[in-house]
Amino acid sequence: MLRLEAVDAYYGDLQALAGVGFEVHEGEIVALVGANAAGKSTTLRVISGLVAPRRGRVLFGDEDLTAVAAHARVARGIVQVPEGRRLFPFMTVAENLLLGAHTPGARGERAASLERVWALFPVLADRRAQLAGSLSGGEQQMCAIGRALMARPRVLMLDEPTLGLAPVLVAKIFETVRAINAAGVTVLLVEQNVRQALTLAHRACVLESGRLVLEGRASELLGDERLRRAYLGM
């Protein structure tokens, strides 16, 4: 469904990705793991179009996304929850969610999407008139995920959704991601909680210094000696 082919990406002269290629199949949860600065976020930014690859390409279905502007990729169904939530801090929870449904297709289903988000995160319904900047970290993450769901994603990309959250909230976020996937949304997940990410995901890709070093079924990677040593400390 989503395929990267030999992607090189740079920030100025600094190479962030070198020859990264992998595929995400429809209906899967794929975890993208690796150390800090391994290129995980860059990979998501290349897919969403915020960073243009210097070489290689991104395919969505049969379409080459190279010439598709970042905002137009959202209308195709590629939606990213950025690292650090990036809510609109001076707008209410409800306004943030409504902004998620910006593309023509999503706007038509705005009311139904909103009901779905309230059902998924009842706490957001209680806080709908509150400024997003005043929410707790966990609530902000729920709001950011809710906002992305308002766009009616076909592929949902989450960048470190559990960063800085208490364990009980981490569990809640993982559970939500599983529920979203069960509802038919393909998920590409960047996580620093490697063990939990691998437990949740169907498949995983491991990045190291901008290169893809391992790829496979999550359950198998969980037992991989190298990965255990490098990321699980065992």
Partner: protein, 304 residues
Amino acid sequence: MDSARRLGPAQIGVLAQLGVSTVLLGGIYALIAVGLTLIFGIMRVVNFAHGEFLMLGMYLAFWAFSAYAVDPYVVLFVSIPIFFGVGLVTYALVMRGVIHASHNVQIFTTVGLSTALQNVALVLWTGDFRIVRPWHSSVVIRFADTAFNLSQVVAFLIAVALTVALFAFMKWTHTGRVMRATAQDGDAATLMGIDTDRVYRLTFAIGIAAVGAAGVLVAPLYAVYPTAGLQFVLLAYVVVVLGGLGDMVGAMLGSLIVAAVEVIGSYLFGVAWKEVLYFVLFIAVLAFRPAGLFGQRGAETLGA
């Protein structure tokens, strides 16, 4: 005027007159400043050519009136779409290329645009002072102890209506939300499927339409000439800094304060002092409250 300085009923009449003049002037200043603060708040560009679009609005009113005897209030309805279009074209030709450039480049660009527009006006229409005198500019309304002319009152009412409409648009429409979201976090807006280039284009066009309308409204009240915009835009900067860069409500309150300083200062010290007075105010605000009288520090980077 001197006799009014003694205590007594006449003094109260003067205060009422000063108050009314302040409010009338403040409403018009608000419409000029609100476009400037909108463009800054969302695009992070200080439009130094803002006054020149006001000047073009004044000339539009002048030519429509002198060539076709069309009243400025009728011209207003045409001016809004015309200046919206002028804003779109200016964005495409001039602003689009510098929207992501450094502030220095943006300043040079808009100052250059300002100079170019002034000189185009000078070449096309000469440096003569032109006067627009529709019938309503000589109708004096007396109410209680105050007197003001009809043009001033209508200009005030229309300016306030447009400012409020713009405010409501920003607050309650989807497009308004999209514009505020883009100001608060452009990348996050892109990830919501928002075409930020389109937002900037629309913002610039709305800002120019607002200041063009203000130009048409002030044409019956002030002389029209190629650098007529300067006197207004200087005070618009003061208003915008007072209110907090990018803060629309602040711009409305700032307009009233600047108008009060101008009206009361002119009465107490003479008209010649008014610019000195509001620049003293400007410097004081920059020194003691750099985020504006009502803003929080750093609000200018968040588009609140």
